[in-house]
Amino acid sequence: MTTVTQDLPPVKGVKNIPLEEQFTSGHRTCQGCESALVMRLMIKAAGPRTIVLGSTGCMYVANTTYYSTPWVVPWMHTQLGSSGSAATGTAAGLASMMRKGKMKQEPINVIAFCGDGGGADMGLSAISATLQHEEYNLLILMYDNESYANTDIQVSGSSPWGANSTFSPPGTLHRIMNRRWKKNTAGMLAVGHPQVRYIATGCASYATDMMNKVRKALSIGGPTFIHTLDPCPKGWDYDPMYSHELGMLAVQTGIWVQYEVEDGKVTLNGPSKMLAKGKKRLPVEEYLKRQGRFAHFTKEDIAYYQSQIDVMWEKWWIPGVIPPSPEDD
């Protein structure tokens, strides 16, 4: 590591969350946008000595109107598939100049965020390459609203099976247009980059947990990755007042698994840990039926969806992380 990281101890309870805002008024995201909340919590956790790079997507287009940016910290746009390269370039520039005495030596957080389209689809190879550079301290945060939301809600590799989107509308001949199963991005990156010291999933419904994951990712050293699941009222088609609840339902039904991979050790945390220990999962129908994007689902569709979630929890090596199960004995 060329520079040391900032000391960012975990936030102990909601009351100890810093009051200072680094992501303030000025943005124009939809009411109930959980991705905007992820931005706010992320930068609250990181603090002011941070540079943020943002890929194209809702969190760029709806967030940084000229003259009314909500970002208090230095912020720069990067291309849709460039979160990885933006983080590498920024961290490399800082590291090089500090090492050569061209800039004051100090730990500066570097965070690049991207949506699921920018991260799980287009930018995957750049993120993978960035995770191989142990010498740079940085965090890539992929906020996953499960569609290309900014361009009017199109299906991405991270959209759930069967979801209605403007590129996968249910029709009279084909009820299910999106036949792809959601990509397992964090798990794939953790398995593929064993030298990376920290990879985690998160959800803004569990705010302190998410903030502490950001803090750990920024202080542990080297490149790190966090994948959050963000309910999106526009794309998922529900009343904005239910965003928080939907995030919790995603976790409680076992559709979304909260975990950390730290120095090669996997820990399921929060409600996901309880589910792994045998607590009963809520039926996926509880989650699906709350959202218009699944309104066309038949009983069979819901049963199929449930069966896949059951397979994940019952057959996967580690639920939500590593699919291939060892030979049954």
């Binding site: 790079l53 230095p74 750049a126």
Partner: protein, 407 residues
């Protein structure tokens, strides 16, 4: 600065090196901070030399082997935003793979310096030189220079950072080098000392444009129709200003290093009393000069103008030099299918340059040397014969002629 000084740069030295190696040495002399590489022939030889210079401790930089050209250019763009001096490059389809990053680098006014090892845009497979790769950035806000020798490659690399990083300019610059003919051919190059270079090239200072927690600016917000036009206009003005900055830097270059042409923008060869002027870019200068020498011996009044800066385009200088002649013979190592004359890119630029003149010369275009095919002195003779015929008859039978093509 804690650059590892080595024997190489403490005294002026003559080295037998290729164009690529000359640019790699320029990177070390300029103390570049972040360099990104991705393999594609023929430019990538520069990165082989850079990596070796770093491995041997000749200079200290963050040398990153990216996973694609797109990332290669994005990484240096972002490194440039925090204030790091940068270098990268590519060739042919690699340059095109990076195109999204290349265009925003100019849009954001990041003074990245890149080498283009000119290469055909294959398919079908071809490694050889062709200028369409680099020319594709001509409208985007990149300064664009064509070198003809290894010495010029080193010299112009040093000039590039100085001009690109000048606060009056802040535009990226591409150094075009003909694949193989320049990237891989060795010549004697005078390598200056670090001390000389430091005198010529001040450190890169972004000032209040630096992305840093002490200066929490927002770069590239959503501006849309409210502001984009003003911002494009600023790039246009920066390109206008670059002309004087180049002149100033080139004059200083000549003083510091004791070499250089009269003009930073064009090179003239036997132009004074010429009736026919050949115009071209890059290493084709070599066979053209030889052919002209022989034609002169035979009493033919032919000269040559090598365009060095394609952007900013030296319009006035070219009007002055080409204005009085009978005919202009433009050699394009490129193509522009479906263009006004179904001719080359340079030809159209020159025709629009000369259009405002009261007395316009005849203009003929020759597409030659595509895919790295050699341009021989005989080819040049053939072109001049065609031009002469047009002068004699006062008639242009065909504006663009493809040279040496099997029918």
């Amino acid at each position: 600065m804690t650059t590892v000084e080595t024997q190489l740069f403490q005294t002026e030295q003559e080295e037998l090196i290729s164009g690529s190696e000359a640019i790699a040495i320029a990177c070390a002399l300029a103390d570049v901070d972040v360099i990104t590489a991705y393999p594609i022939r023929p430019y990538d030889t520069v990165m082989q030399y850079v990596s070796k210079l770093k491995a041997d401790g000749v200079f200290d930089c963050d040398f990153i082997v990216a996973e694609s050209e797109h990332s290669q250019f994005e990484i240096v763009k972002h490194a440039s935003a925090v204030g790091a001096r940068t270098f990268c490059g590519s060739s042919g389809v690699g340059w095109f793979y990076a195109f999204e990053a290349i265009t925003v680098t100019a849009g954001l006014r990041m003074p990245v310096v890149a080498m283009v090892g000119n290469r055909a845009l294959d398919d079908p497979g071809a490694f050889g030189t062709e200028h369409n790769d680099a020319l594709a950035v001509r409208d985007l806000g990149w300064m664009l220079y064509w070198v003809a020798t290894a010495q010029e490659a080193l010299d112009i690399a040093l000039l590039s950072w100085r001009v690109a990083e000048d606060p009056r300019v802040l535009l990226p610059m591409a150094i075009s080098c003909d694949g193989s003919f320049l990237t891989h051919s060795q010549a004697i190059v005078n390598v200056p000392t670090s001390e000389q270079v430091r005198k010529f090239l001040p450190p890169y200072d972004r000032g209040k444009l630096q992305l840093h927690p002490d200066n929490p600016i927002t770069i590239a917000p959503q501006v849309n129709e409210d502001w984009l036009m003003e911002i494009r206009r600023q790039s246009d003005e920066a390109m206008h200003r670059s002309v004087a900055v180049i002149e100033e830097a080139y004059a200083d270059f000549k003083k510091t290093f004791n070499r250089g042409d009269p003009s930073a923008f064009i090179e003239e060869y036997m132009t004074e009393d010429a009736e026919i002027l050949i115009v071209g870019m890059g290493t084709l200068a070599l066979p053209v000069r030889v052919a002209i020498r022989r034609m002169r011996e035979a009493g033919k009044k032919v000269g040559f103008v090598r365009i060095k800066f394609f952007r900013p385009f030296p319009t006035e200088e070219l009007q002055r030099v080409l204005g009085g002649v009978k005919a202009v013979c433009v050699i394009d190592r490129d193509y522009s299918f479906g263009s006004p004359s179904f001719a080359g890119v340079l030809f159209h630029e020159l025709r629009s340059t000369l259009y405002p003149l009261e007395k316009r010369p005849l203009m003929l275009n020759f597409i030659a040397g595509l895919g790295g095919r050699e341009i021989h002195t005989n080819d040049v003779n053939h072109m001049v014969d065609i031009v002469q015929k047009a002068i004699d008859t006062g008639k242009i039978e065909q504006e663009a002629t493809w040279i040496g093509v099997r029918e």
